[in-house]
Symmetry: D2
Subunit: 151 residues, 4 copies
């Protein structure tokens, strides 16, 4: 049975790595709530990130969801580990109109080497409940030792 | 048996829609070769689009591959149709170091409503052969009539 | 806003189609609880359905989960519709030892043409809580009219 | 650079494990051509393995494709390794009418721990060319040491 790190430890480690993901700044994606095995990210709709109909591009949703899922798994990994996404699948459920979005990653299965994480993207509109607009299923790897450094 | 549009028709329609994907400009993704059921995109590595180890973020690869796959399917659709990605899965095979990348989308199964498209991302380094760094399997929908307009 | 069929109607329609899936009898998969957008299936471990280590083969889990997901979506479809699985992804989380299993399909997004359904496979051992051993994300199509008949 | 085992070695190791997959006998799936990183399987349509329209159930196609993909990766693994499917995605492209089928698994990326394998299912009808009816993308793990034994 693996123990869970404290919330403060999770936040510290996730925040330190998140800061180094330059694409998060570029897309205006911000770190939200962090707990053991759980990470929330937030962003606003931006016209520079849209597809041909003016909605956020599926790849932008993927960027936020992949980071939410990867960091949810990372929050449970040993101190020296690096995190590597092996694969993910995303279903696009509704147009990403905005004005803002919340992305959550939740670890479904924590493994020594392989973890499986589920992600959900929600659209936030003033005065309405959040609506689910995309769901992700991701496979994430814990990389240790020499392999972690090489990355 | 559905007929194939000419290469000139494919290019014209794909280019017109591609121009309206603002995120392509933002990421520096350019349209390459277009043929019936086949679309190539190109981009360079950029530090603003990286994850914590300095490689292109998986979501950026997804953005380019999703557009390559979607437009490969779109190139075969009727003139008034809109294209909608239902889902995709991506496997990340190697770090996306650059300096540059080629993305290809190839239609595997063309259907009236649903098409299945395979995508591959290649890394291009001077003096070396291209190396495969990611593969995508995407399900794309042809949207017609009222639904196409609403989008 | 689409209305929900009654539970009795769901059960009747799902059961009638389930009866015609010969592979369910072959594998000893039985229909459990059925509600609008929700279907449970049950089966026991059987040595004829195993892989090289004596666990249920991933394809057998896929068979049960695909039917659970497909019928969950089918339970919400119009009376004359047929159901067609377009694609699914499955993550295998733990060995399928048995002695018995429960599979559930839950509709995540109901669409006129495309529905997205999530499935979970649980292992049941006497005296222990159920454990999650596999998760599925499926895309299912509603087929109407001439296309439904041809199938 | 990892070396490739000889074709005879591949066949011997794959055949020995394949023999222990009881579900292959149950479904009448037979081992075909085996080479380094490549495995073919064959089967005939059988009414006991069908869904409600009389076609092979998607889970049956998944069973054959998962084994084809898993053994394609296994053929390249070290002698003491066990193979474990982490996840797969399958797209169903056309009804599986038969009368017979060929399944192929081809390793796309061979890794020390994680390999990615692509699979294709073909329908074989006398006098017609094979037609592609399903495609799979699978992630497979090499399991060594204590973990391999426990399985």
């Amino acid at each position: 049975m693996q123990s869970l790190p404290t919330e403060a430890t999770c936040l510290q480690r996730v925040a330190a790595s998140f800061e180094r993901q330059a694409v998060m700044r570029t897309m205006g994606i911000r770190l939200g709530k962090v707990a053991a095995g759980q990470v929330d990210l937030h962003m606003a709709h931006h016209p520079d990130l849209t597809q041909q109909h003016g909605f956020l591009h599926a790849g932008v949703l993927s960027t936020a969801l992949d980071s939410a899922c990867g960091y949810a798994a990372f929050s449970l990994m040993p101190p020296q580990a690096a995190v590597l996404t092996i694969e993910f699948k995303i279903n696009l459920l509704a147009p990403a109109r905005g004005p803002s979005f919340r992305f959550e990653g939740r670890v479904t299965k924590r493994g020594r080497t392989i973890s499986v994480v589920d992600g959900q993207a929600f659209q936030i509109t003033d005065g309405s409940p959040e609506t689910l607009i995309a769901s992700m299923s991701a496979t994430v790897m814990t990389v240790l030792g020499r392999d972690a450094i090489q990355q």
